[in-house]
Subunit: 369 residues, 2 copies
Amino acid sequence: MTSSQPHTSRTVHPLDRDGLRERVNAALAAFMDRQAEVLAEVGEGMAPVTAALRDFLLDGGKRLRPGFCYWGWRGAGGVDEGAAGAAAVRAATSLELLQASALIHDDLMDRSDTRRGKPAVHKRFEGLHAASDWRGSGEGFGSAAALLLGDLCLTWSDEMFSGSGVAPSALAAAKPLFDVMRTEVMAGQYLDVLEQAMGGGSVERSRRVIRFKSAKYTIERPLHVGAALAGAGDDLLAAYSAYGLPLGEAFQLRDDVLGVFGDPAETGKPAGDDLREGKRTVLLALAAERSSGAQARLLDELVGDPALDDAGVKDLRDVIQGTGALAEVEAMIDALTGRALAALDAAPVAEDARAVLRGLVGAATVRTV
Amino acid sequence: MTSSQPHTSRTVHPLDRDGLRERVNAALAAFMDRQAEVLAEVGEGMAPVTAALRDFLLDGGKRLRPGFCYWGWRGAGGVDEGAAGAAAVRAATSLELLQASALIHDDLMDRSDTRRGKPAVHKRFEGLHAASDWRGSGEGFGSAAALLLGDLCLTWSDEMFSGSGVAPSALAAAKPLFDVMRTEVMAGQYLDVLEQAMGGGSVERSRRVIRFKSAKYTIERPLHVGAALAGAGDDLLAAYSAYGLPLGEAFQLRDDVLGVFGDPAETGKPAGDDLREGKRTVLLALAAERSSGAQARLLDELVGDPALDDAGVKDLRDVIQGTGALAEVEAMIDALTGRALAALDAAPVAEDARAVLRGLVGAATVRTV
């Protein structure tokens, strides 16, 4: 499936194969039940924290990272049976807690007010502050709460991974990859923030941000962690990199296209939010490189304008299409997707996993959330 | 040593026994060297992050939590020899990374501009933004950087703990206590923020915040983690609680007193910063309970006033002394310290550890940082 096909929902999502998504959701719910007990011990005041985290963790999401981790494990020979299978699913599910932390902190940094069509965590607690008629700054309260809830998810991710029940030797093999994944995603986030501050992002610098913030974090490292949990060697890790890095880049480029051209009903974000925010993407870097005169002035003026209206969004879309930047990004997505598929064909993985990983290429690059 | 003695520095600090503090510093430096390599891989832009974290982690601090963890381990029979001893020191040192994360995020939430007499991390990066003449909000850049640097320290804490080299069985016994410690400190932080928002803090509610945010986190849980690393049973854990919880409360009460009456040269914070910030402490809750008329109005007006000047600080100090709140807190510190010492005398711990833990009572309750 290439990116030029329409973004319709597919009848059977590869992440639903073998009931994985439901098992991930069940593992998250069980984990959250245990943490709710710990939080309740601390005091009544924790109830809104528990409720907010439960809602955030269980309200959906594609569960991409657990999916890649689980199928990385299966592809490396992991056998999904009994307690060992359940432990592997729990280990994979822990990546969703890391992602929850990243999203909560990301929304706080970006001052993004909505997430999946609902108030972001800092807005939810700002709302609690207002409804409770508390003292001081509601924004400050919301920010502090989001900071702490993100911290909780971050520590819980490791707690769930280390306590997943996988064999100690498997854990010892996978933990260093889990660790480097976390450092890379935070460093990538910093590069992203730095890129926005430095401005005038080049295509090359934007692709570097994508590599660390998205490609390694969303796809390559989850596959590596899964592979290591199954005791895989360097050959398979290298094959997963050859598949995962181009796919991850394609995934982020698709996300950037949806951030500008996506349907709010599907993305869960207001149309043109990335433009309003001035997000430094390869798409915009290309449009800037290829524009001049009136088009260049329009980009300069409107990108990053918090008050950007629908007409402005339309103007920017026209520039991005008119300069050929959109077509070039779509071509990049196709090329990267092709590389990922070729690497997958050559990879020494179990056949059932190969089929799912092939399906995930489509799911990741035409994703609608 | 009781709290009524002058806060002079002691010639031999108990945490320096057996060269512990230097070993903790060396373990942090070695860990930071390895992470510097990972960050350098991500890109040149990471250099200020590496530098800021190195400075923050290595610039001192009493290393209280590693100290309690290490001596909790020794007290439970841990033998500090060879590789096993070095591994235990590394495991204990990991608590300092957790503390670094808490401080970086705390300063961000509180908008505290200095830490140990130097710019807080968010201010340091705000300064970098200004000096580099970058785009957008310098405050936003500083906040994002502090958020991410705190996240890095948080994940590194677990990475250092899990990768410390302690035996797998010891790690398996201690990790659940390490986990609950992290959840408790974050929940305690939230309660603290909530308390400030709700206002009118009662003495009881303030003591609950202290229990979770400080007593368990700074003393009880580090002791538990150390004990579990040495394979201790429930009896010793209970004894450590009987010693650690009152001591931890005394420790925080001392901190609150220093926050109002402390010498800036010793605390590293401007005089009266806690008053300016409106920090809800037991000291202030008691002063509020015991005041009426002009004293009550003064508290109401001046506590939490960001523009509070030296004269205002002096007025508030007079109220806190005049109401007898200061004397009551000093009496509480004495009583709690006495309970901690009595529990220590009865605890089934190794004698050399008992001596150090006795010394730490003084160090914790007259601490000057």
